[in-house]
């Protein structure tokens, strides 16, 4: 099979190349990278081999991690809609009826989803080479970095395509992809960024490539089989879920709509009319199934996320409880990935499902619609994220060294809640701005990367640089929930029973605000609620101008 003759790939590439957004994104990406190098480049007089190495390595590390994060985030965003998108557009059957082989469809979908990403990665090559010129880096390290990025892009893309072929909705495919990719990505970063060069070399050359290739093979065969004998063709009647029947075959978690905690995920269906004055959009959204597949998808998501968090909980909360903030970072990353899935599509999907014109010709005001969408997205993302915090609560109850500092748990939970609010609000904002869910999703992820992750990279780069004080560095990272979580004072090591009073506590990260030293997490908690409020008001305005006030559907 020749790839250039693949019509699936040709169609997808044509659509990508026709959109102006892809060029603008690439342009911005290169400008951002260029700016980073320009500002990070050592001044002329200090460009000696003696100064270069440390800087070059930090720069390389930041590039590598940034790009790795980008791959983990964007590969599913592009690939998870590949096959489920065909199902949603109702073009799946036409595609399967054609004489195209399943392998050709798979290769076409994958290559088109990852092609753009690979172009983005490769466009950073000149800048990586600059790091190499600074000295202190081995060429083999640069090559290894790119090898890992390409392996990661392929693996994450295939995982997402596999999810896409298993689920009928892009939303479900995305959530499950992220759930699977998140621990894989953390593992990969852990292995390849290890302090020991031997571990790094072994992991990136001997361990990852064969495992990745084996995973590619297995996933390709599974997806190929599903494409050859699709069990989920046609939609007539299949959208209707018989929950009683589903419960009979349920494995593991069973969701009972009448029980309290389950009501949070899947409130009972209405049996009577809505009360007067109810916001119908909110009522509908709250009672609609999160994944539109009964409680099945919800149970899968809960079970997978619980399963994956258990080893992390064991290590980060019970064996090394001083690293609880790292576990919080895991929860935050989960929300960073999953939050936009529910909010970034909330307005664009009305348009894609062709229900927008029905909604807009009613008497509902923009503020009613936007508020309902925000609350619904916030609820789902918060409930799913807080599932992962149960382990934290358990650790705080069981471990003596944590029990004594119970207030830190409340701070962590507040940081997580505020992050949930931020991801939902930003997602909704871009959903009002964009015309397609895919665009809204990518824009949300980019904005969240800039707010949450980029400041951490900047701080890491300037660490030890005497021209910045610690307070100034902390101020740069004020928008990052990771920085806030790591700023919460924790004990420094395992405490034996009976020695609770003598344990050492880390210093809080303080920021100077008008002469007053304020812990960074306090500022984080203080700035986001008003930021989200402003963002919400702008969203209402954008929705009013762009959609509600005639013209959006033209």
């Amino acid at each position: 099979m020749r790839i250039p003759a693949n019509p699936v790939l040709a169609r997808e590439l044509l659509v990508t190349l026709r959109s102006r957004t892809s060029y603008i994104l690439q342009f911005l990406y290169i400008i951002a990278l260029g700016a980073l190098v320009y500002f990070a480049w050592p001044a002329a007089e200090t460009t000696t081999r003696a100064v270069g190495p440390g800087k070059a390595r930090t720069l390389f590390d930041i590039f590598f991690l940034g790009q790795f994060f980008l791959v983990a985030l964007v590969a599913p965003a592009f690939a998870a809609s590949g096959i489920s998108g065909e199902k949603e557009r109702k073009t799946y059957e036409m595609l399967l009826c054609s004489p195209l082989k399943p392998s050709a469809i798979l290769v076409g979908k994958l290559a088109s989803a990852l092609g753009y990403l690979v172009v983005l990665i490769l466009s950073s090559l000149p800048i990586m080479i600059l790091c190499y010129v600074l000295g202190g880096l081995l060429l083999s390290e640069v090559v290894r970095g790119y090898l890992i990025l390409i392996l990661a892009a392929g693996t994450f893309g295939l995982v997402s395509t596999a999810c896409s072929s298993y689920f009928r909705r892009t939303g479900s495919a995305l959530v499950v992809s992220y759930l699977v990719i998140l621990p894989l990505a953390l593992l990969c970063v852990g292995l390849t960024r290890s302090d020991s060069p031997d571990v790094r070399e072994f992991a990136s050359l001997a361990l990852l490539p064969p495992w990745c290739i084996a995973a590619w093979l297995v996933l390709s065969i599974l997806v190929g089989r599903r494409l050859l004998h699709p069990p989920d063709l046609g939609s007539e009647g299949k959208d209707v879920i018989d929950e009683q029947e589903e419960l009979k075959h349920a494995i593991g978690v069973v969701i009972d709509r009448d029980l309290f905690p389950d009501k949070l995920f899947a409130p009972a269906k209405r049996t009577d009319l809505m009360p007067d004055g109810a916001n119908p959009v909110l009522d509908k959204e709250l009672r609609s199934e999160i994944f539109s597949q009964g409680t099945l998808m919800l149970r899968v998501v809960i079970q997978v996320s619980m399963l994956l968090s258990i080893p992390l909980m064991a290590v980060l909360l019970f064996l090394q409880s001083e690293r609880a903030a790292v576990y919080v970072a895991y929860v935050l990353t989960f929300n960073l990935l999953v939050g936009p899935v529910f909010s970034a599509g909330s307005i664009t999907q009305e348009r894609e499902r062709q229900t927008m014109s029905l909604l807009l010709t009613t008497l509902l005001r923009p503020v009613d619609i936007v508020t309902a969408k925000l609350l619904a997205a916030f609820r789902v993302s918060t409930v799913l994220t807080f599932l992962l915090t149960e382990q934290m609560m358990l650790a705080y109850i069981m471990l003596q060294e944590l029990r004594g500092r119970f207030w830190t748990l409340i701070v962590f939970l507040l940081i997580i809640a505020v992050t949930c609010l931020a991801t939902s609000t930003l997602g909704l904002f871009f959903s009002a701005l964009a015309r397609r869910t895919g665009t809204a999703m990518v824009l949300t992820y980019l904005a969240l990367l800039v707010l949450f992750v980029l400041p951490m990279g900047v701080v890491r780069y300037f660490e030890g640089d005497r021209s910045f004080s610690d307070s100034q560095l902390a101020a740069i990272a004020i928008t990052s929930p990771y920085s806030a979580a790591f700023g919460v004072p924790m004990h420094t090591g395992r405490v034996e029973p009976g020695m609770g009073q003598t344990m050492k506590i880390t210093n809080p990260i303080l920021i100077n605000v008008f002469g007053v030293q304020v812990p960074n997490w306090v500022l984080f908690l203080a700035i986001y609620p008003p930021f989200c409020l402003i963002c919400y008001l702008i969203t209402c305005l954008v929705f009013r101008i762009r959609w509600w006030r005639a013209g959006g559907l033209g």
Binding site: R270, P280, S357, T361, L363, R549, G554
Partner: protein, 309 residues
Amino acid sequence: MIEVLNFSKRYGDFLAVDDLSFTIGKGEIFGFIGPNGAGKSTTIRFLATLLRPTSGEGRVNGHSVTADPMSVRRSIGFMPDDFGVYDGMKVWEFLDFFAVAYEIPRNQRRKIIAEVLELLDLSAKRDDYVSGLSKGMKQRLCLAKTLVHDPPVLILDEPASGLDPRARLEMKALLNELKQMGKTILISSHILSELADFCTSIGVIERGKLLAAGSIQEIEQQIRSHRVIKAQVMGDGRAAAEAIFRGDPHVRQIEAYDRTISAEFEGQDDDMARLLDRLINAGVRVHSFGEEPLSLEEVFMMITKGVVS
């Protein structure tokens, strides 16, 4: 009830609707016809407050479409040509959703939902999931949705498209019922037979321009001078008859086959009688002679062919 004044809509270089004006009186059923892409949906979306005009104004039930969209939304029931439904909702929930969105108090809602379900023959489907309904059922459900707040004006964009013949007939009967209820209806279609029976007036649009508007009789009057006459002769009189037809100054195009001659005729009744006289005087044995009744389809074809300007 509905007024469109010099409405134009431009998308970049493309002029979708060009200076459109028409008026629909209370209780009228206005059929908006035109080929695909003529600008029907653009005009309808403008009246449904979903589209900002490049220029021009519209008024529905006395309210300005651009300045007071909320009052317009209160007055209209809108059914788009292509619409989706929400997953995981039952038929009654779907209607309750829109009833709440139209601010109908709870104590009236139960009765209204039962009534519209009854009217649209959906009572048996009350507890079915919306996403599991057939296309025809979904069309009816959407029509039910447009009626929950009992609007005086209904704006229906291709309500019968994609329906099978039976569902199409049922839709027709329904619209007739709504007509009896005194609603003002603007209905678009590219299939004329759907509209011919119950529309009180029609507007023909093509390439964004309104080619003709008025009652069906008025439009027939407009094209009266473009009637088609058909003559059947006995024996071998066709050649002679054809020669007389060709000699007539009012005859435009002639088609002759077997013993039949059919011609486009641009004259009045008098001219037609004179042509018949000439045929008889020339000894042609005329079996039948008369004007072909025009179907709405033919009217449409003639109008859109540019015969009427």
